[in-house]
Amino acid sequence: MNVSRRYFMILVPAAAVAWESVLAGTPEDSPNYKMQDHWWGMLIDTPKCIGCGNCVRACEAENDVPEGFFRTWVERYHVTDENMENPEVISPEGGKHGFPAAKEDEGKYFFVPKMCNHCADSPCTQVCPVGATFVSPDGVVLIDQSYCLGCAYCVQACPYGCRYINPEKHSAEKCTLCYHRITKGLTTACCENCPTGARQLVDLKNPKDPIHAFLKTHSVQVLKPQMATGAKAFYNELDGSVR
């Protein structure tokens, strides 16, 4: 224990401070984290996704996601040129255990990881009757578990299907963008565990974040742009058939 603690002192400064406090059992003292310095989002580099389901498993382990519900999941699209508007989509158990092998044929196949888009103008927080869900000052859509009524209005209002009611806690849950990790200088569990870098946590307020260069040089799209939700999950090279 002492050995590890000594080593942690030379970690990236924010993470080190956080870890120190986490290990000392006083996480409240942890980070030099300033909310106003961040505006979080996610880059999803669609062509890099191999559908391994690592992100889904990591999210489940990190966040105690109940069986049958998902804070992130992976969809596999199969688009044939006769039927561009009606792709065949599967996501067995959210892609947690990968996908059955796809055979080469006329159509194209690809994977699309899904998660909360952490919308800046989020329709889900708009409808919450009591202020139990909100966009945090650092741009993360969060739920106050101890205040949520469990009315499920937010679940109805999310265009992306990202929310669910926890069957045991009876309150709404969703991706927190691993708020407990990003405020300690770590990346999210899904990003940490994506083997191909298909997911990258981005901080739009950090001028050094590679996202700025990426957005300038790539075709980036958000899901359902017609919903005008200010989504902050940026999809690189997203196929037009994705819903």
Partner: protein, 395 residues
Amino acid sequence: MPGVEGFMYPNEVELQWSVLIVLYPFITGLVAGAFILASLERVFHVVTIKPTYRLALLTALSFMLVAPLPLQLHLGHPERSLEMYFTPHSSSAMAMFGFVYLWYLMAVLVTEIWLDYRKDIVEMYHKSTGLLKMIYWLMATGNLNISPRALELDDKIGYTITVIGIPSAFLLHGYVGFIFGSIKANPWWSSPLMPVVFIFSAMVSGVAAVMLLFMAVKKLRKEAIDIHCVDTIAKYLFYLFIVDFSLEMLDLIHRIYEADESFRSLDFMVHSRLFFSQIVLQICLGTLTPILLLGITQLFKIRAGIRKAIYTTSGLLTLMGIFAMRWNVVIGGQLFSKSFLGYTTYKMALVTKEGLLVAIALAILPFIFLTILVKLLPPFGENDAHHAPQPAIGD
């Protein structure tokens, strides 16, 4: 996955809003409709429906008392429901429920009934004994003044309350429509017509309910049914129904003609999972049939006995149709995926907190309240005398 056809986002498979949420707009609709019928007499002086005035008010109150229960039961944390009053979120349509409800229940319904019944309450206080006497004393707020000047004041204020009550009733139910109509993520709900359709269907269901109740109560009391009164109510029902049906068809035709990205998905749903409840129950049996039946009574001279049978049949079909409409909105809106690529199934539980038995109990509860209220505050008979004398016209 069982019950799922095509692709659903994985969190969408289970429905969030159950049969209880179907019951909620149905019940508030009855409240709004019954109140508007009552105010017709008071504000617009439709004298023929006067015999139903008090019954309509008591019906509205009984259903109003039950209206929040399905919501309360459906919440994951009912113990936190007061947060809606303490920290209401101004951008949430649902947060306004508490206030609209309290306003309508207390400022409109209870006040109007109290003012209208005050003379009776005081008279019954003098006649009764024991516990009942105490209840009447409390209801009279301990003030037994029924001087002509006091009653005149009551009447004036009561009139003002009714005038305020009409827009309030529209607000109450229009806002229920807005809860659904404002969800842009759901194309089945998202429509500016939703609040309007909800208001008119509310009036239709409330008027039909009071008409049926009036006939039933008279029958139970073995009194003659005032057929002119029922005729007039049926006439209003007919016209309201035509407006309601036109609005619903406008919505439907608009969707079919525009055929936007969601159309293929919704069209398939209406032709498969919702076929019975939407096409058969709501449109054919619950709307076209009663409109046709009521239309016949408007066009042809028919014997009173048969008219009553027609009114009863069309009233019952109407209530079923409006319930089916609420079902199709609430449940239908959750059966398709927001990816427009698949469909799920609603499995109604039987004995759970949100199951069928609870729904039935909640549907019966207003009638128990109504029975008690009718006993405490008799809507007919000699206590009615200070209003217009009841015309003794039977069939």
